[in-house]
Subunit: 373 residues, 2 copies
Amino acid sequence: MDEQRSRGAGAANGSAAGATGATAAAAAAGAAPARIRPATGAVTLKQVAAEAEVSLATASRVLHRSGGREVRGPLAERVQTAAERLGYVSNPHAQALARARSSTVGLIVHDVTDPYFAAIATGAMHAAHAEGVMVMMAATFRDPELEIDYLSRLRAQGARGVLLAGSGSTDARVSGRLAEAIAAFTREGGRVAAIGARPDTHIDAVVPDNVAGARQARAHLEALGHKRIGIISGPETLLTVSQRLAGLGDGLRIIAADFTREGGYQAAKKLLAAHPGLTALIALNDLMAAGVLAAAKDAGRKVPDDLSVIGFDDLPFAADLSPALTTVRLPLRHMGERAMSLLLADPDEPSPKTIDIPVDLVTRASTAPAARR
Amino acid sequence: MDEQRSRGAGAANGSAAGATGATAAAAAAGAAPARIRPATGAVTLKQVAAEAEVSLATASRVLHRSGGREVRGPLAERVQTAAERLGYVSNPHAQALARARSSTVGLIVHDVTDPYFAAIATGAMHAAHAEGVMVMMAATFRDPELEIDYLSRLRAQGARGVLLAGSGSTDARVSGRLAEAIAAFTREGGRVAAIGARPDTHIDAVVPDNVAGARQARAHLEALGHKRIGIISGPETLLTVSQRLAGLGDGLRIIAADFTREGGYQAAKKLLAAHPGLTALIALNDLMAAGVLAAAKDAGRKVPDDLSVIGFDDLPFAADLSPALTTVRLPLRHMGERAMSLLLADPDEPSPKTIDIPVDLVTRASTAPAARR
DNA sequence: CTGTTAGCGCATTCAA
DNA sequence: TTGAATGCGCTAACAG
């Protein structure tokens, strides 16, 4: 290895040497099929070029249509063949370095296990795959610091863009620092898109109409005669939560907890104990709703006869809960696709673009007319 | 090698050219050192070095402890400070290229939406994060070709390793080609680990004891007096499926379908119609089991009174199904962690290592004694 | 302990 | 069209 390197150095790329070199290499290859083994062990463009007896530049042009193209010279054929025979696969790092931009995009989620993000991720990955870009996925486990950290790593990596799938925070301190990181990234030509609004930043976004969804939920309940409604809320620092709360309006009993099934379970248990008169509960996401259903059961309240329950998101399992959950549906997968397409869009598209996503209430078995007491 | 040799030969007549070239380059560089603005726009090590007035190498040593370390020279301080002031973030591509190996690992799953993979991915990501490596996640959407494709891309990227989370296929053709791709990757120093056995390949693996789990499921049912048991199976080309079937033993009615909720629903519907005498159904994963429960309900069979149902995996939602599902639990997240640690292990650990994972039956409400007819 | 320098694999400008 | 040369940002010998 060392020897090779120093030898290469010794050759000092003499111009004439280069030309002769290529030919000689090919000849040698024919004579002794000994292999040329670069550090990584993988076949390199250089090898392909040598094999096809063309220059590096030509091989690059044929294989990666760098600069002007090479429709079908006789050389093109040779290069293609050589590449196939050798099993050439381009090295993305080298390309990224040379082009100063890679062909991967980042996808930052809070939690892979949460079906909400899984659905979005699927959509995003599909769209990315269609464009031949790879997706680097990172989970922040709900730590805002990690979100910033990953973003900067992705930036250093020359990612083409980053999709922020998790809801923004209303905490000014973190969102401020995140905004800075985003600005730094976009300043360098990176693109950032988000699912959900990011008030403080000027980036592409796919935003579901949480407010309207929440209104529908409340209207549905009121149409069924419910007057005493409780809300099982997530952390109010999440923008999604504050929007849904805003749409729900006033006069409701609110209790907050983790945005998880367990959080929903505990909160519902507490709320039901404190306010037995409630006839309906709105959980701010389906995960919590699942917990609510379990808590209701444990408390001996029949759903929907004694208690109506509504969720948000319409995750895949919502229809399998018992009773099947009435919920505000978000076209998650579609949202993921749209967001990724925003990321991959022509660089000179007008940029801070927002795509509004309508949502609608899916009525299932967990809601019924309020029982008259 | 050949190439080196030929270059050496060519150098005989090109030596002079080489010398001049080098000098000219140096002169040009000296003449216009105007601005140092890298293409990517990001701060580079070089800038940090300049700012700290030390050499590139020193900066690299301080910041990335390349080679020997630099405990606390006065220079170290300067470099650290400069790096912080400039907001330096290292470029992974450049590092990968120079080191011939990156610090990312690949994670290939069939489907992000499937909670089975989500759980594994979470474990894997946690373990990876602890080691400071990033996870590149790709979904094959169950296309074996894509699995091979991603693997080779990850290889070209110099990924440290790749975790194959999806079950292997029993189809000799694809598994053969995959085995080749794996071999090529490991030959280059990459590490590959899998969840589930991969008979034809010699790679690290974390393998759950599907056979024992299946035995427990059957034993449980038989202890409850069930004699006519049906199996809702997934595609038999999946190794996981064939193993579970093997553990279940003979004498059961088997019907196969997609390894999804919908597949389970359809298959159960069909099986129940064709063999109304069955008193218990074993679904080969929880997703299918959810479908089975729905089908049973539609067919007017009460679970567990008229029909017992067992699943596999113990996905998070299993306890929320109604009735709560009896299932063979796999410690998915733990498996993901173990697999990732295998991937990240010291390179000279004895390699094809297998970690066996015990599984156990979780008895919940979906199974009960067989009704006497 | 610190600086110099030759590449890592590729894209791309400039010549021919 | 095609090829030679240069550099992307960084690491790792190899001097000093």
